[in-house]
Subunit: 228 residues, 2 copies
């Protein structure tokens, strides 16, 4: 059995003071409803755990009704940091779950084929992440003002979500993060701590995250293409 | 006096066999006509050198008529590599040019304020480049298959164009590239060879390059916003 954890407990402060970015409307529905739909529709996911801020459960429950998201799902309350929210989601999984795909709620363009591909790779190696080779010219700067040196981009990958794991692997990795009192920005970084290799799974199309208000028109274009 | 060199001699092979990406229509005109328009309209640029493939001069001359691009401009034939094309452009500058902004023709969304800001920074320090802090989570992989390590992204910048220089600086830097028989992917890399510091100039909005066919809808959205 495979589960998805959609991490929807962040506030997205870079979008502006009063906007909850997950409920901003894009291509006819809130951002998070697109993300949820992808995991609702993909066959290889059996249930969905949505990690949400306390008090937001009813708003999410309404989305399920409005957009007919019928796959088994439940809501879990988020923690202080992203890693705490993921932890809470993992705690809620039933004991028969083998693989878990962890997804940013603010990444609404993730394709079903990418979700499947990360599950297959995680089944084989224990841990996998959606990724794309860096195509920009990258420079290092110590002060953000002057270039220090050129960085060899052929070795660089930009990682996204889903980040997909055998459940025992990600539980062990995040337990190690907590034991050491660390903070990690993504779940694959936790795997480094326990020496667990992470497979890169190259996505075909763009898989952007809603971060700034200026991201929305681009994402609108992608979503309309996907549904066309 | 300040010049712009628009490097328009590439074929853009990643766009598909028969498409010249610079002449693909986006937001009502060919890609390169948008780029040219920005440098035509910005006050701080006095003349424009377009480096084009041999035989393409008349196609570009038609664009100038069609889109009323009246600022002084001329055409120079490109070389084998991008750095040769830039060299040919530099060779064509009149002796009174102090600063030169070198621009990818396939980057049609560059704002006038960004062009001006790179000129100001280059006037002060000798070399400057449009850049944005890397916002994605970046991993290093030796084999493109498994993550080797996390890369500290706070020191990483993605560089774009314009790359803007005092003319004597970029001439000296590219002469050194040629003397050593090297190949450089961008002009600021040439500056490293002569110990010339390069200032990062953070752009406000997106400044993407047309590389793959899938880039066009996003760029269309940006261009329509700009003109709205």
């Amino acid at each position: 059995m495979n589960s998805a954890i959609i991490v929807a407990a962040g506030r997205g402060t870079r979008m502006g003071a009063n906007a909850d970015k997950l409920f901003l409307e894009v291509a006819g529905r809130p951002v998070v409803a697109h993300t949820w739909q992808r995991f609702n529709d993909v066959q290889c996911i059996d249930e969905i755990v949505l990690v949400v801020r306390d008090g937001m459960q009813s708003a999410f429950a309404e989305l399920a009704v409005q957009f007919n998201l019928q796959k088994a799902h439940r809501f879990v309350t988020g923690g202080a940091e992203r890693q705490d929210s993921v932890w809470n989601g993992l705690e809620s999984l039933s004991s028969c779950v083998e693989l878990v795909a962890i997804q940013d709620a603010a990444r609404p363009c993730t394709s079903e084929s990418l979700i499947s591909a990360t599950l297959e790779a995680a089944c084989e190696t224990g841990a996998a992440v959606a990724a794309q080779p860096v195509t920009d010219t990258i420079k290092e700067s110590a002060d953000g003002r002057t270039i220090l040196r050129n960085v060899e981009r052929s070795r660089l990958w930009s990682v996204q979500t889903p980040q997909t794991f055998r459940v025992d692997v990600i539980r062990r990795a995040l337990a190690e993060v907590r034991r050491r009192g660390l903070s990690v920005t993504d779940d694959t970084a936790a795997c480094e701590l326990i020496g667990q290799p992470v497979r890169l799974v190259a996505g075909v199309g763009p898989n952007p995250k809603v971060t700034l208000p200026g991201d929305l028109p681009y994402i609108e274009t992608l979503l309309r293409q996907y549904r066309a």
